[in-house]
């Protein structure tokens, strides 16, 4: 059937803010889908609450609504826009759930809006465990014995019947939240209880564990005409037991014979045909290691994280084609975008090996439980391509940017290493390597981990090469090491040389990488996809063109502090470069992103972002220059090294980047231009630190230099605390000093600046809602400023201009200020695109990345119609809220502080501040209660502020509960407060019991700056998160929430 002509206007639902389990991959799938629909001539309306995305750009859809994804707001848009259809299957679980809610609400029927893609009933059949199981039985596809239960008694009854181990999976939760394995009844009860609570329909599936089976995934597509195909097969290196999002995954499957592969292919196709999937779909299966027995694990009836990975692993754009299928086109009618000469009905053939490794946040959340299981914990992932498994694995490891490929396990005993293997942690791959170094057999490791010996042998091979390199310094071995993915740095270490020497030696001996094309057909058809990966082989396929080019470095895997917003900047940079008549070349290692789709740039190098890999591409492409400003700290960290090796960095010079990032140099500039700055200094040891802290006076803010997202940043109040920090939090040395600043408790604000050296444009000031002490990435922010005095705004404007001039900024710069007593103090400068670029670009309508790119290509702002200074304020008020993933990360301290903890952001905008705030809260997933009970447990210094907030709640009709000290204080100020006991005392009524009984609708909890985590407090916060009760740890946020509630409420006051 050709495409539908009876529909003209299509509403696409995005996936909202980024949380663990639902990340940048949906920006990729969503924007691909929108563009694909536009390409077919449909009018596209988009709703997404996440401003840090490319899909919310006005070029992506005909109309973009950055509004909360709730039935209320989506319905409002439907009434206003009257779309003919909705495409819900490309916005992750959020999109699907919204479609279900909309259908239930009746609005779709009322306005004759059709759901495109897979039908709702099929989606439900795939997602409802019981219905899915029934279907599998009907079509004779094996599923592990299981039972869906709605209460704990039923669960226990089933467990007693089947025996252990069992696995628990809650229905309708993201990334398997709340699931887990149970080996005995006690564990089982705990997990089942939790799962029942977290499931929105209070339903869990209990099933026989198939832990240790090979975990196989297939990305499948099917159309209207029943054409069905496997786009990509994947085999998890980590067998069943670890969520596939937390597993190391390789594509294509490696250890299945054709007989097994076809058996599983048949099963996958049979399932999607019986589910009547129309579009993309993911089928997860488990295959025994000792027989042909397999089980179906689950089906995701929509594009997913795995389909983004599959698209990048094969080159086959799943989301783009899924959108076309949704509007009635069939696979044998659509041109294959890769070859352009063949049809989309084509199962890609790979002639390389792909490895994906998750990027976990445990480097930031050191207290988090880093054991891996059925609940996904990774924030992002990297992918690498090679012609050997070893090469793709080592490339992926260095793409992680975690600085440990040869981690030092000197102090860990072999016994401990073995014990660490199960249950696995994020370090398992490194522990396995170390055990092999210590001659533990791979058979033994396989026995413990159930990892296929085939994969372990590959790791063993790497270690063998490593061992040979220690004694053999021959060119032959160098070449072999390169073929198996070793980087110059590793070889240099083993050879006691530096990496430049290895590089020179390689070049002298013609050992340089070649670049091969990802073409979906293993070379069978001529393709024109400009999508390349490096390897060490005979033929190079990437040919430099005669057009002058610019290389843009992406930002690598999504992690806390470096999220999708940098991909936004990267993509816009690339598009501008193209508009300016250059060839735009991109390097990145993240499969989830828009920037790594081959259609975005003129050439895509899917490569790790390390010095060596970048230099190799520069050697081949000889670009006019390299843009680092859009790739976050990942790219900026390479600035000096690239510059030293003669690579031209576009925009702000490396010297000026250093002047902004090096504390001493920066201080000199601040002094020279005479800007107010909190007192501070640098220390390289504890004695020095104590001296400085006492000189400037406590409290002080302390952090290591060159940090990302406020890692190990703390507020310290005394010599004791400082001592503790110096000995526990950081490794200090002359190369790695700590920065100590006076901690000013004021409000915060930040600006992004665009400068060409002469004209300096400040699109707007983002005022933070929480006061200093909370990382800017975790603060709510509002534009235009609501409470900032005009004089302060003028000072910020002036200071930012001075700074841009002094640092001779060419491109973007972000400046952060603390405002105290009517004066703004500079606290930080980032000489690059910041996290707020997409938000500020959208709300001020100043295309910052585009302008910055033009500047870097020698254009002048004045010629583009801009003049120095703050751009005139927009009328509409926009609020940005952080979004956290604490429910996925047990034991993470969820109090907000100077270290960043959020994974994403949401935006709300409206004509008034309170309305914008309201939307922003709703969009970030906070359920705002209109009535109920608020639990306060606040530290002494906050009590005075807290009592006023509590009174405001009372006035709105809320009941107040508090722990003893707080309650006594509140009562003193004539506030009726119910006292609850202590968790530690096991009091019958304590905050945790109150939360679990749903007696509390909102929690306000603050602790001292001492950062000593009180057991009680942590338990209260944990309970709040587990029971999905809004938790506030900053009083300023509470105050703004009250602003919303007060604006909504009618005032009831006696005469």
């Amino acid at each position: 059937m050709p495409k539908r002509t009876d529909i003209k206007k299509i509403l696409v639902i995005g996936s909202g803010p980024i949380v663990i389990g639902q990340a940048a991959e949906f920006d990729y799938s969503g924007s691909q889908a929108c563009l694909s629909l536009k390409e077919e001539g449909y009018q596209v309306i988009l709703i997404n609450s996440n401003p840090a995305t490319i899909m919310t750009d006005t070029e992506i859809a005909d109309k973009v609504f950055i509004e909360p994804i709730t039935v209320d707001f989506v319905s409002k848009i439907i009434r206003q826009e009257l779309p003919d259809a909705i495409l819900p299957t490309l916005g992750g679980q959020t999109g699907l759930n919204m479609a279900k809610e909309l259908a239930d609400s009746g609005i779709l029927k009322e306005f004759h809006v059709e759901l495109l893609g897979t039908k709702l009933d099929s989606i439900e059949e795939a997602e409802d465990r019981e219905r899915f199981k029934e279907l599998m039985l009907q079509i004779s596809e094996p599923v592990p014995e299981s039972k869906t239960v709605n209460n704990i008694d039923e669960a226990v009854e089933f467990a007693n019947k089947i025996g252990f181990p069992l696995v628990i999976r809650p229905a309708y939760t993201l990334g398997g939240t709340g699931g887990g394995f149970a080996y005995n009844l006690d564990e089982f009860k705990e997990i089942a209880h939790n799962g029942l609570r977290l499931s929105p329909i209070n339903q869990i599936l209990v099933e026989r564990s198939i832990m240790g089976y090979k975990e196989i995934e297939m990305e499948v597509m099917r159309d209207h005409k029943d054409n069905a195909m496997i786009v990509c097969s994947m085999e998890n290196v980590d067998p069943v037991g670890i969520h596939t999002g937390d597993s190391i995954v390789t594509s294509p499957v490696q250890t299945l014979s054709d007989r097994e592969y076809e058996m599983m292919r048949d099963a996958a196709l049979k399932i999607i045909r019986n589910l009547h999937i129309e579009g993309g779909c993911n089928v997860q299966m488990a295959l025994s290691k000792e027989s042909m027995q397999y089980y179906i694990i689950e089906v995701n009836p929509r594009v997913s994280r795995s389909s983004a990975l599959a698209s990048k692993a094969t080159g086959y754009p799943i989301a783009k084609l899924a959108a076309k299928i949704a509007v009635g086109l069939n696979l044998d009618e659509i041109n294959n975008p890769i070859t352009q000469t063949t049809l989309a009905q084509f199962e890609p053939a790979l002639d390389y090996v792909v490895t994906k490794i998750p990027r976990w946040p445990f480097d930031k959340f050191t207290s988090a439980d880093n054991h891996l299981g059925t609940q996904m914990k990774a924030t992002g992932e990297v992918m690498a391509i090679g012609r050997t498994f070893e090469e793709s694995l080592l490339k992926a490891i260095r793409s992680l940017e975690i600085g440990k490929n040869n981690e030092d396990y000197q102090d860990t005993t072999t016994k401990d290493l073995i014990n660490n293997l199960m249950p696995a942690t994020d370090n398992r791959i490194f522990e396995i390597a170390e055990l092999i170094r210590r001659n533990v057999t791979i058979e033994e490791i396989s026995r413990i981990t159930k990892i296929n010996i085939f994969f372990l042998d590959k790791i063993k091979h790497i270690i063998e090469i490593e061992n040979s390199l220690k004694t053999d310094h021959s060119i032959e071995l160098l070449e072999i090491a390169k073929q198996y993915g070793f980087n110059d740095e590793e070889i240099a270490q083993l050879w006691h040389q530096n990496s430049d020497e290895i590089r020179d030696l390689r070049k002298q001996n013609d050992i340089t990488p070649v670049y091969k094309m990802v073409d979906t057909s293993a070379g069978e058809f001529e393709s024109h996809t400009p999508y390349y990966y490096s390897t060490y082989e005979q033929e190079n396929e990437s040919i430099k063109t005669s057009k002058p080019s610019v290389l843009v470095l992406g930002s690598g895997p999504i992690r806390i502090g470096q999220g999708v917003e940098f991909d936004y900047a990267t993509v816009h940079g690339v598009q501008t470069i193209q508009q300016m008549g250059y060839e735009a070349i991109i390097m990145n290692s993240n499969p989830e992103t828009v920037s790594t789709d081959f259609s975005i740039s003129d050439k895509l190098y899917f490569e790790p972002l390390t010095l060596e890999d970048v230099l190799n591409v520069v050697d081949l492409e000889q670009p006019e220059g390299v843009i680092l400003q859009f790739g976050g700290q990942t790219a900026i960290n390479l600035a000096e090294a690239l510059h030293k090796r003669g690579v031209k960095i576009l925009g702000t010079t490396v010297d000026n980047i250093n002047r902004a990032e090096d504390r001493h140099q920066f201080d000199e500039i601040i002094k020279k231009i005479n800007l107010p700055q909190p007192k501070g200094d640098t220390a390289t040891d504890t004695t020095e630190a104590l001296k400085i802290a006492n000189k400037i006076g406590y409290p002080v803010m302390i952090r290591p230099s060159y940090v990302l997202g406020g890692k190990a940043m703390e507020i310290v109040n005394s010599d004791d605390e400082l001592n503790h920090y110096m000995h526990n939090a950081v490794k200090v040395s002359n190369d790695h000093p700590v920065l100590i600043d006076s901690y000013l408790l004021g409000s915060e604000a930040e600006v992004d600046v665009i400068s060409d050296g002469d004209t300096i444009v400040i699109p707007g000031i983002l005022e933070h809602i929480e006061r200093a002490g909370i990382h800017s990435g975790d603060s709510m922010g509002v534009y235009p400023p609501q409470q900032m005095h005009r004089s302060v705004q003028e000072q910020i404007e002036g200071d930012a201009i001075h700074l841009a001039k002094a640092l001779d900024t060419k491109g973007l710069m972000n400046v952060q200020f603390v405002i105290k007593d009517g004066k703004a103090y500079v606290i930080e400068v980032n000489p690059r695109a910041s996290r707020t670029i997409p938000f500020m670009s959208k709300v001020t309508k100043v295309p910052m990345t585009q302008l910055a790119t033009k500047i870097m290509l020698n254009h002048k702002l004045a010629d583009l119609g801009y003049q120095t200074g703050l751009v005139e304020q927009a009328k509409r008020i926009s609020v940005k809220s952080p979004v956290f993933s604490f429910s996925k990360l047990p034991m993470v301290d969820n109090t907000l502080g100077p270290e960043m903890k959020s994974t994403g952001e949401a935006m709300g905008s409206d004509k008034s501040f309170s309305k914008a705030l309201y939307k922003s809260f709703i969009a970030s997933g906070i359920q705002i209660p209109n009535t109920g009970t608020v639990l306060f447990t606040v530290c002494d210094k906050d009590k005075a502020t807290a009592v006023n907030l509590a009174k405001r709640f009372r006035h709105l009709g809320f009941q107040i509960e508090a722990t003893k000290n707080t309650q006594e204080y509140f009562e003193k100020y004539d506030l009726k407060t119910k006292c609850v006991g202590k968790v530690a005392n096991d009091d019958v009524i304590n905050p945790v019991t109150e939360l679990y009984k749903h007696h509390v609708q909102l929690v306000v909890n603050t602790i001292d700056n001492s950062n000593t985590t009180f057991d009680d407090e942590a338990k209260i916060r944990g309970a709040a998160i587990e029971s999905s009760v809004p938790l506030f740890t900053a009083l300023d946020t509470v105050s703004s929430l009250l602003t919303v509630l007060e604006a909504q409420a009618f005032d009831v006051t006696a005469l």
Binding site: K225, D226, N227, A228, M229, S233, P252, V253, Q254, T255, L256, S257, D258, R259, E260, Y261, E262, R265, D266, K289, E290, S291, L331, D332, T341, T342, L343, Q345, F346, E347, P348, A349, L350, D351, Y352, V353, R387, T388, F389, N452, I453, F454, F455, D457, H461, K516, S521, A522, G523, E524, F525, E526, E537, Q538, E539
Partner: protein, 359 residues
């Protein structure tokens, strides 16, 4: 041990030899299947050819007892990027390299198989040799070694044998059959009697078969034109199914022509449209020759199936007889099972014919 793959056009690929150390000469072809190396290596359609695997890691799941398509390797040499030194599958009985040693099969690893396949794509399948030195004389002598010309005859059985079963009785003309065809028929309880490729129609009719199956096989169909009269005679009496080479011979017997393709179809992802179905099917393919569509004009043949991208004739049918053929392998092994229904259609045709005959 360093060995060299030298192409007729002079290209040289240096690699590491494994398996047999003998010097070989053959036609170089590539397959894009990511699994199924064991089946392909023992597929008689590759008889005498040097097979390049485009997937770089070969041997990952070893060699097992059950996935052979003939008793011994049929290919002349295998060209790979890398062989697995350890296997990751419970059915594995030995590594690929060990198997190559036992079966005296030469192999080369560490080859840039992508560069090689692309060269074959642009220049067409070509002759090549595997040698130990780049000495011109050695290379020249290697190229002088005879190619397996009448390979289908070589690959065929020498004597009649039976694969007994309780159902319909099918006579199979063997041009180098894959065991998977026998398995597909056995699954349908078909009693198969396999005949050498040069058996006469009269000889075959003696067993009173319900249908005739023309097997796959290697090489140029014109080399076995001696089989055409047999086919012509039998198609008037029996339902016929031709597979691969069998398809080409079926076409030739009915007056069509075949041609040598530039680099053929070898892989599992060729999508084929059967005009009687709405959906398309992925098929397992291995052919270097194809039926020329224009030559069908004045014949009784009609095209029933086509490859969706290049339009290659993938299925034919005689207008007034229950005789048909497919260019791909409905028996898969290796490859997708989407087109297995072809065997069911053949069974149905035989049943219908049986009923008609009984009347």
């Amino acid at each position: 041990m360093k060995r060299y793959l030298v192409l007729k056009n002079g290209s040289i690929y240096k690699g590491n030899g494994f398996g047999s150390k003998k010097i070989v000469h053959g036609e170089l072809v590539f397959s894009t299947g990511m699994t199924g190396y064991q089946e392909s290596m023992t597929d008689a359609s590759y008889y005498g050819q040097m097979l390049v695997f485009t997937y770089p890691l070969i041997g990952n799941y070893g060699i097992n007892r059950d996935d052979m398509e003939s008793l011994h390797p049929t290919v002349n040499a295998i060209i790979v990027k890398e062989t697995a030194r350890l296997t990751g599958n419970w059915r594995s009985q030995m590594t690929l390299t060990r198997y190559a040693e036992i079966e005296d099969l030469p192999g080369i690893s560490c080859i840039d198989t992508r560069a090689l396949s692309k060269e074959l794509r642009s220049q067409g399948s070509m002759e090549a040799v595997v040698v130990d030195s780049l000495d011109e004389k050695v290379i020249h002598e290697a190229f002088e070694r005879p190619l397996a010309i009448s390979s289908a005859q070589m690959a065929s059985t020498n004597s009649i044998y039976q694969a007994p079963n309780s159902g319909l009785r099918v006579a199979m003309l063997d041009f180098g059959l894959k065991d998977s065809i026998l398995r597909a028929l056995a699954k349908r309880n078909v009693n198969v009697i396999v005949f050498p490729s040069d058996t006469s129609a009269e000889e075959i009719m003696k067993i009173n078969p319900d249908g005739l199956l023309l097997s796959n096989g290697p090489g140029d169909p014109l080399n076995i034109s001696y089989a055409l009269p047999t086919i012509k005679k039998l198609e008037a009496k029996l339902p016929v199914l031709g597979i691969c080479m069998g398809h080409q011979l079926f076409a030739l017997a009915n007056g069509a022509k075949t041609y040598k393709m530039k680099f053929g179809h070898r892989g599992f992802n060729h999508s084929v449209k059967d005009k009687n179905q709405t959906r398309t099917n992925f098929t397992s393919q291995n052919h270097g020759y194809a039926v020329e569509e224009a030559s069908l004009k004045n014949t009784d043949l009609e095209v029933t199936q086509r490859e969706i991208n290049d339009g290659t004739v993938e299925g034919l049918k005689l207008k007034n007889c229950p005789a048909f053929s497919v260019q791909y392998h409905p028996d898969a092994s290796p490859g997708p099972h989407d087109a297995e229904y072809v065997f069911d259609e053949f069974i149905d045709a035989m049943k219908v014919n049986q009923k008609a005959g009984n009347k």
